[in-house]
C-alpha cells in the first residue's frame, strides 16, 4: 500500500515536474500576443495650483495640463504605445526612466532620436518586461523642462501583486518659487550648476503643497516614492512608523527596514510597505531631514475613519523577481569611472570639446563637472566605454567630488554590489545609484541591450554642466 502509493505519487511527480518544466519555458501568457496599451501625452504650457487656493496658480509646463502628468498604469508583459505631441515652444523628447526599452525608444535627443519639434508628434512603443515603479520625463534641456513640471509616473503592476490594502504613489518634487507663486526663471545658473543643483524652496507631493495624507488604522499601504526633483535629495522619517523597503528603482529587494531616514536621490524610486499602526484620530509627522538645519515637516499621516483591521497584517512577502539576467562576477570585465569637478574639488583641468581647459575656462562656458576627465558639452559624443553584448561588467564608480551624485545608466538595471569596498547587504538592483561625496560604488550587470546609452548624473544641473557620457553596447 505504502509502496504502491509511493510509486503512483512518483509517477505523478514526474509528470507534473515535466509539465512544470514546460510551463517555465512557455508560460501561459507567452503564447498570447501582448496587450498593447495606448496613451496620448501632450506636452504644453499650463497652470496649476501648486501651493493651494490662497495663491494664484503657477505657470508650468506639463503633460496634459496636470503636474505630475497622467499616471500610466500597465501590467507586466504588456506593450505600451504612447503618442507624444509637442505643444511647447521648444524641442522635447520623452525618456522612460528605468524601463529597459529598445535603444530607439530611449528618448535621448540626437543620440537615439531626432528631438520632437514644436507641433510634431512622436510615437514611442515598447514592451514592459519588468514590473515596478518607473517614471517618464524629457531628456531635452531636462534641467528646465523637468524643472517646470514635465514628468509623470509609470507604474507596471506585477503579475502576482503583493497583498496590500492600498497602492499609493507619491511623486516628490520641489520648486523654486517667487513670492508670487511663480517659478523663478533662473534655470541653469552657475551657482546651481557648480554646487548641488537647483534645489527649490517649495516641496510638493503629486503636484500640491501637502498638509495631510489620510490613512486608516490597521491599513497596510504600498507607498511608491518617485523623486522627480532636479536636485533635491529627500530623507524621509515617518514618526512612530516602521516602513519596509520592498523595491529600489522598481526592482524587488528582500523586504527590510532601513536604519534612519529613507534616503531617495533625484530620479530614484523606493517602494515602501507601511503598516498604519496608529489609533484613529491621531496624526504622525513625516519629516524630511536630509539637509542639516533645513529640516521641515513634509506632511502628517492623519488617521481617519474606522480601522481596516485590528492586529498585525502578517509578514510582508518579497515581490517576484524581474527578468534581468544575473551578471557573472567571476567572468566580469571591470572598468573604472571617475566623477570629478565642482566646488571644493581638486579638479584643475579637464577635456572640453577635444582640448585641455582649466576650471576657470570651463566655468565661463557653463561647465563644471567631468566623467573620466571629460566635460560633455552636448548629447552626442563618442562612447567612453564599448561593451560587448551579452558580457558581464563591473563598473567601479568613484565620486571624486565634494557633492552627491545620483548616477543613472540607461537601458539596463544593475546590481549595486559594493560601497566603499564593502559588499552591500541586499545587492540591490537599481538604475540610479546615489553616491555620497567621495564615495565609491561598484555596479554589476549584463550588457544585454544593444545601442548607445547615456550614463549621467541625475542632478540635472550636473548633467548640463558636463557630467554625462555614452556607453556603447554592441
Amino acid at each position: 500500500m505504502t509502496k504502491n502509493a509511493w510509486a503512483v505519487s512518483r509517477r505523478t511527480f514526474l509528470a507534473s515536474s515535466g509539465m512544470a518544466t514546460i510551463a517555465m519555458a512557455l508560460p501561459a501568457w507567452a503564447n498570447i500576443p501582448p496587450t498593447t496599451r495606448e496613451y496620448r501625452l501632450v506636452a504644453k504650457p499650463g497652470e496649476t495650483r501648486l501651493v493651494g487656493d490662497s495663491h494664484p496658480p503657477t505657470a508650468v509646463w506639463s503633460y496634459d495640463g496636470t503636474v505630475p502628468g497622467p499616471e500610466i498604469r500597465v501590467r507586466q508583459g504588456e506593450r505600451l504605445r504612447v503618442a507624444v505631441e509637442n505643444r511647447l515652444a521648444e524641442e522635447t523628447t520623452v525618456h522612460w526612466h528605468g524601463v529597459r526599452v529598445p535603444n530607439a525608444m530611449d528618448g535621448v535627443p540626437h543620440l537615439t532620436q531626432k528631438p520632437i519639434a514644436p507641433g510634431d508628434t512622436f510615437v514611442y512603443e515598447f514592451d514592459l518586461p519588468d514590473a515596478g515603479t518607473y517614471w517618464y520625463h524629457p531628456h531635452q534641456r531636462s534641467f528646465e523642462q523637468i524643472g517646470r513640471g514635465l514628468y509623470g509616473p509609470l507604474i507596471v503592476e506585477e503579475r502576482n501583486p503583493t497583498s496590500v490594502d492600498r497602492d499609493v504613489t507619491w511623486v516628490l518634487d520641489d520648486w523654486r518659487l517667487l513670492p508670487t507663486a511663480q517659478i523663478s526663471g533662473d534655470f541653469g545658473n552657475m551657482h546651481d550648476i557648480s554646487h548641488n543643483g537647483r534645489v527649490g524652496n517649495t516641496v510638493t507631493v503629486n503636484g500640491r503643497l501637502p498638509d495631510t495624507f489620510a490613512v486608516r488604522a490597521g491599513e497596510r499601504i504600498r507607498l511608491r516614492l518617485i523623486n522627480a526633483a532636479n536636485a533635491r535629495i529627500f530623507g524621509l522619517e515617518f514618526k512612530d512608523h516602521r516602513p519596509t523597503v520592498v523595491s529600489y528603482d522598481g526592482q524587488p529587494v528582500e523586504p527590510h527596514e532601513v536604519a534612519g531616514p529613507v534616503v531617495i536621490g533625484p530620479a530614484m524610486r523606493i517602494d515602501l510597505v507601511i503598516d498604519l499602526v496608529g489609533n484613529p484620530g491621531r496624526r504622525f509627522r513625516v519629516t524630511d531631514t536630509f539637509y542639516r538645519s533645513l529640516e521641515y515637516r513634509l506632511l502628517d499621516l492623519a488617521y481617519e475613519g474606522e480601522p481596516v483591521r485590528r492586529g498585525p497584517a502578517g509578514p510582508i512577502a518579497r515581490l517576484d523577481d524581474n527578468t534581468m539576467p544575473e551578471p557573472n562576477l567571476a567572468d566580469a570585465e571591470r572598468h573604472e569611472i571617475a566623477f570629478g569637478g565642482g566646488m571644493m574639488g581638486s579638479m584643475r583641468m579637464a577635456m572640453m570639446g577635444g582640448r585641455q581647459v582649466d576650471m576657470r575656462e570651463m566655468m565661463q562656458s557653463g561647465m563644471a563637472w567631468t566623467i573620466n576627465g571629460v566635460t560633455a558639452t552636448g548629447h552626442i559624443h563618442e562612447p567612453m566605454l564599448r561593451l560587448t553584448r551579452g558580457r558581464s561588467y563591473v563598473l567601479a564608480l568613484a565620486n571624486d567630488t565634494a557633492w552627491h551624485h545620483p548616477v543613472h545608466l540607461h537601458g539596463h538595471s544593475f546590481r549595486v554590489v559594493s560601497r566603499d569596498g564593502k559588499p552591500t547587504r541586499h545587492r540591490e538592483w537599481q538604475d540610479t545609484v546615489l553616491m555620497a561625496p567621495k564615495e565609491r560604488a561598484e555596479i554589476a550587470f549584463v550588457a544585454d541591450n544593444p545601442g548607445d546609452w547615456m550614463i549621467h548624473c541625475h542632478i540635472l544641473e550636473h548633467q548640463a554642466g558636463g557630467m554625462m557620457g555614452v556607453v556603447r553596447v554592441s
Binding site: V51, G52, D53, S54, H55, R176, L177, L178, P179, A181, S184, D186, N189, M190, H191, D192, H195, N196, V199, G200, N201, T202, V203, L209, D211, R232, Y291, R292, S293, L294, Y296, M343, M344, R360, M363, A402, W403, H404
Partner: protein, 152 residues
C-alpha cells in the same frame, strides 16, 4: 497651513529687506559688527569664511538656504560677480571670500554702493584652501559698468 512655505519665503525676503535698511545694524555698535552669512547647506568653505569673520571680531549668524541664487539677485549680485556665499554686514552685501582689509575699507569709507564682491572662489582667500596665485580683484556691486573697488 498650505501657505506656510510661501510664507517662509516671504519672511526670508522681509528679513533681507529689513537688513537693507540702514541702521538695522548700527555702525555705532562697531565693536562687534553683526553679519548674516547665507550659504549652501552642503558647502564647507563658507563655514571657513564665517570662522574668519568671527576671529576678526564679527558676530556671525550662518543661515543655510536653498535660495542662494535668489538672495544674490535680490542684492544686485549678477551671475558674473557671484562668489559662493553672500554676507550682509552693516548695510552692505559682501559677496564671496572678501579679505578683511577690503572689508574694513568698505565699512570705514561707506561708499554709495550696494556692496562688494570677490567673484568665484579664488585659492588662498579666507576660508579657502590653496595658495594665492594672483591678485584678488574686489568689485563694486552697483548698477552700471563693473568697477574694481580694491586689489589685494
Amino acid at each position: 497651513m498650505k501657505v506656510r512655505k510661501i510664507a517662509m519665503i516671504t519672511a526670508a525676503f522681509a528679513i533681507i529687506a529689513g537688513a537693507l535698511i540702514y541702521g538695522f545694524w548700527s555702525p555705532e555698535s562697531a565693536d562687534a559688527k553683526e553679519a548674516i552669512l547665507y550659504k549652501n547647506p552642503q558647502c564647507d568653505c563658507c563655514e571657513g569664511y564665517a570662522k574668519y569673520l568671527r576671529q576678526n571680531g564679527f558676530k556671525v549668524t550662518v543661515k543655510a538656504t536653498h535660495d542662494l541664487s535668489l538672495i544674490k539677485r535680490e542684492h544686485g549680485v549678477s551671475e558674473a560677480f557671484e562668489g559662493c556665499h553672500t554676507t550682509l554686514i552693516d548695510g552692505y552685501v559682501v559677496e564671496g571670500h572678501v579679505p578683511l582689509k577690503t572689508l574694513n575699507k568698505l565699512l570705514a569709507e561707506r561708499p554709495q554702493i550696494k556692496g562688494i564682491s570677490l567673484p568665484g572662489m579664488p585659492l588662498g582667500t579666507p576660508g579657502m584652501t590653496g595658495r594665492k596665485d594672483g591678485p584678488f580683484r574686489i568689485y563694486e556691486i552697483k548698477k552700471g559698468a563693473p568697477k574694481v573697488y580694491a586689489v589685494e
